[in-house]
Amino acid sequence: MGSEHSTQSGAHGSHSAQRQGSLNKDGYKLSNIRRQHTIANPGGSEAVDNDNGRPGSISPGPSVCSDIDLPYISYTVNRPIGDSPKLTNKQLVKSKSNSRRAQQSKQNKTKSNTAHNIVVVRGATTNTPGIEKDPDVIRLQGIPMFLPIMRATLSLPAARDPEVLERLDPMPFCNLCLRYQHHLTTAANLVATEQNHLTQRIREADSEVTRMVSVASEKQRKFAKYAEKFSKVQELSHQLNRCHMLLNQTLESMETLNNYLDISDRLEPFVWTTG
């Protein structure tokens, strides 16, 4: 608990140290954030491996410049209780750079030791990719280091505030925000008017279509009646044809019947006369 407390406070202290403008590069901030995440693990660093270097990190090692207001921060980062702050820089650099890898190897070693002496050729690095691939963490890491505008410290009162506040004018920013707000409103109104036009046109088109459908169905009904009436013509022609055929047959049968009779009894040959 003590060591964890010291490491967390140390990390925070070094974080505040950066914000107050120590001579650190950007890579330090990256590695610091990473270390914060790994430090906050419950199975945190208990021992420090002094032999391994930082794997895969291009950024230079963390610097050990002491801070303006809170001294001895760099000594307390990742240091367990009772460590002398008069350790040399080399050891400190090594310890800081090795802390992350040490935690990984330490976890792997504990895992391998408790798993019945299984020889682990390559340790499982499941924990850190789970943290590193988080998009929010990546975005946080992409933030460049910046200094606060008002260089007031946390505990001391703002000594330089009046001269800073004179130069800080909120009006332009306010105008910018108002303009953005107005822009959003206008854009939304534009879209809304366009949508309303479209809605109106849709309704008109729908009414047109319904009107046309009713007209078409009316026409179709009328045409159906006409077609029915006209189809009687077909029937008529059929009947006419039958009538004609029957007439012809009748005439033929009359002729044959007439021929069957004796010549004396025959009637005159039948001539179809119309009135």
């Binding site: 505040s16 702050p85 939304a188 309303n196 809605t199």
Partner: protein, 105 residues
């Protein structure tokens, strides 16, 4: 000496950590309230929601129109059939007239 410095540093850190966290929280809250003011002040989301809802109502009208158009397509096909039958019958009228004349003879 070492433990004393580390304990004093730790006690310093606890206080500053808390205050730093408070300041950060205040800043973040301010930024978020500013953003909320901008989005709520321009009632863009409300306007867009209204228009989207109105547009969604037209979905029913559009479906109606689609059905009507399909019906109209069928009606057009039927009309075509009827037109064909009427023209055929009209032509047959002529033939029948000739037949009647032939029969009358």
């Amino acid at each position: 000496m070492a433990s004393a410095s580390s304990t004093s540093a730790r006690s310093l850190f606890a206080d500053s950590k808390m205050r730093l966290a408070d300041r950060v929280q205040v800043n973040v809250n301010n930024v978020s309230s500013l953003a909320r003011q901008i989005t709520r002040g321009s009632k863009s989301s409300e306007i867009l929601m209204h228009s989207a809802r109105n547009f969604a109502v037209q979905e029913q009208a559009m479906e109606n129109a689609e059905n009507n158009l399909k019906k109209m397509q069928l009606i057009a096909v039927h009309l075509g059939y009827q037109h064909d039958s009427i023209t055929k019958s009209a032509q047959q009228l002529e033939e029948i007239k000739e037949q009647v004349c032939a029969m009358q003879r």
